[in-house]
Symmetry: C2
Amino acid sequence: MFDTFRPQADMRSDMPVIDPAAPNRTAPPSTIAFAFQRRENPCGSQCSACAMRRLCIAASLTDAEAERLDTVITTWRTVAKGDVLLRAGDPFRNLYMVRSGSFKSVTSHASGREHITAFFLPGDTLGLDGICQEYLESDVMALEDSTVCVVPFALLETLCREVKGLQKQFHRMLSSEIVREAELLLLVGSMPAEQRIAAFLLNISRRLRARGFSPTDFTLRMTREDIGNYLGMKLETVSRTFSRFQREGLIRVQGKRIILLDPEALDLL
Amino acid sequence: MFDTFRPQADMRSDMPVIDPAAPNRTAPPSTIAFAFQRRENPCGSQCSACAMRRLCIAASLTDAEAERLDTVITTWRTVAKGDVLLRAGDPFRNLYMVRSGSFKSVTSHASGREHITAFFLPGDTLGLDGICQEYLESDVMALEDSTVCVVPFALLETLCREVKGLQKQFHRMLSSEIVREAELLLLVGSMPAEQRIAAFLLNISRRLRARGFSPTDFTLRMTREDIGNYLGMKLETVSRTFSRFQREGLIRVQGKRIILLDPEALDLL
DNA sequence: CGCTATGTTGAAGCTACTCAAGTGGCGTGG
DNA sequence: CCACGCCACTTGAGTAGCTTCAACATAGCG
C-alpha cells in the first residue's frame, strides 16, 4: 500500500496494463503479452541499486554478494490492480519481491472459506508458503498497480549454498514470517476488535516508516472487508471501530485515507 | 502427546528427572546435572536409526546424507513434564527435534498476554522462530517427560550448504510451519468454536496416525485451558464443546482421554 | 488423605454478528 | 457533462454465541 511507491514511475508508464482476464492458471500468456509482462534487466539496474534493497532478501548483503544475487534476479513483472500474480494450485517455481505497489495473499480452504494471511508492501517477499509443496497454497492479488522482481527458487537455493550471507538472510526471512504469523495469531485469537484494529494500523504505520513514507498519514489500499477478513472480524465491525477511534480523537478517517492523530494512545489500547 | 511415544523407554528410565526448579535462564545447570541432561551418542544410534526419521528434518535424506547429519546431531536432552526447554529471551543457538513426548510453545507479548502457537509431537522441530533474531521468541514447555535431539544451528547451516537434499528439506520444513500457522489463522479467525475443536481433534488424530499411534483413541497431554488458548477461546467453551460432541455421539470424553467415534461427522462440521 | 489443579455445568451479560437501510465516490454511458 | 448504477462504506436494531462469574466435581500429587 499505501502511498504508492514509484521509484520507476516513468518506466512503468509505458507498460501496457496486463489483461485482467488473461488465463493465469491454465494457459501461459501469449508470447506478445509475455514479452511485455516480463522484462530482462530493465535499465540494467538490479539489487545492487534497488531502493528496496535494505528491506528485501538483499538486506545485509555486501556489495559483492548483492552482485551475485543480480545474476539470479534477472526478470520482473508488472501486475495491474486487481490482477492475480499467483494462483493457488499453480506449480511453485519462483519467489517474488515487491518493488512497488502492494498485494494481499488469500488462502482458500476446503470449506470454501477464504482467509487473507498477509498484506505485502515494497521489499516484502511473496511465495514463501509454496516452498513446502510443489504447488502454491494461496492466491496473491495486487491491491494497486505493482511491480515485482522474479526470483527463480532453484537458482536462489543454489546461490544460498555458495553465499553464506544470503543463506543466513533467507533463513531469517522465513523465520520472520513464522514470527509474524504467530503475532497475528495472538491478535486474532485473544484481543478485542478495538485492539486488533489499533495493532493493525500501528503495524502498517511502522512498515511505512521503514520504507520512507509518512507513518501518520497514509492510504489503505485494501477494503474494509479485506481488513476484517485479515483480523478475523466483519467489515461492519471494522467500520464501526474506525468511527469510534475517530470520535475519540485517535485517528481521522477519510475513506481509505487514515491519519493517526494519537499513535501512543492507540498503542496503549 | 498423547499416547506417550517411548521407543527408548528403557534408556530413559535410568535418567534422573531434571529438577523443575533448575534456573534455566540465568545460571547454567550444575556440571552434574548437565552431564545427565545431555548425552553424547546414546547407544551410538543416530538419525540413520531413529524411529522418527521419516518425520523430522532427516525425512527424504539418503542413508549417506543421514549419516552426515549424524555428525551434527551429537547430543540430546531429556525434559521433565512441566519443565521449560527453551525460554523467550535466551540466545538462539540450537534447533531441537522431539524424539519422544510432547511440548507446547508459548509466545508472550508486551501486554502480558500469552498465546500458545503450537503443540509439538515426536518428529517435530522446535525453535524455528528463533532464527530471525539473536534471541528466542517463545517459551517451550514439556507436556510430559520428553527427549529431544539438539541440533546446533550453525552446524546445520554449514551442512545445508554442502548437502542439497538437507537444504531442500530444511526449507520445506520452514515453509510448512508458515502454512500450518496460516491454516490455524483461518481456524481462529473465522470458524465457530465447534469447528475449531473439531479441526483440532482431527489434526491431532492425523498426526498421531502418521506416527503410528491410534488416530481414534488418544490422550491429550495439554489442559483445556491450553487448548482454548491455542484456539482462541475460553476453557469453559472447550469443555462445553467436548460435552456437546459427546452428547451427539461424535466422541467419547474421559478426562484427557478422547475417543473419536465418528471422525467423518467431525470433518463435516 | 487432603490439597490444589483441572474440568464440568449453569446463569447472566456483553461483544461482535446478522440483517437492513441509507450514503458517498467513481466509472460508464447517454 | 450529468445521470445512472455499482461498489464500498456507514450506521442502526436485534440477536446469537461466547465470555464471565460462580459453584461444584474430579483427578493427580505430595
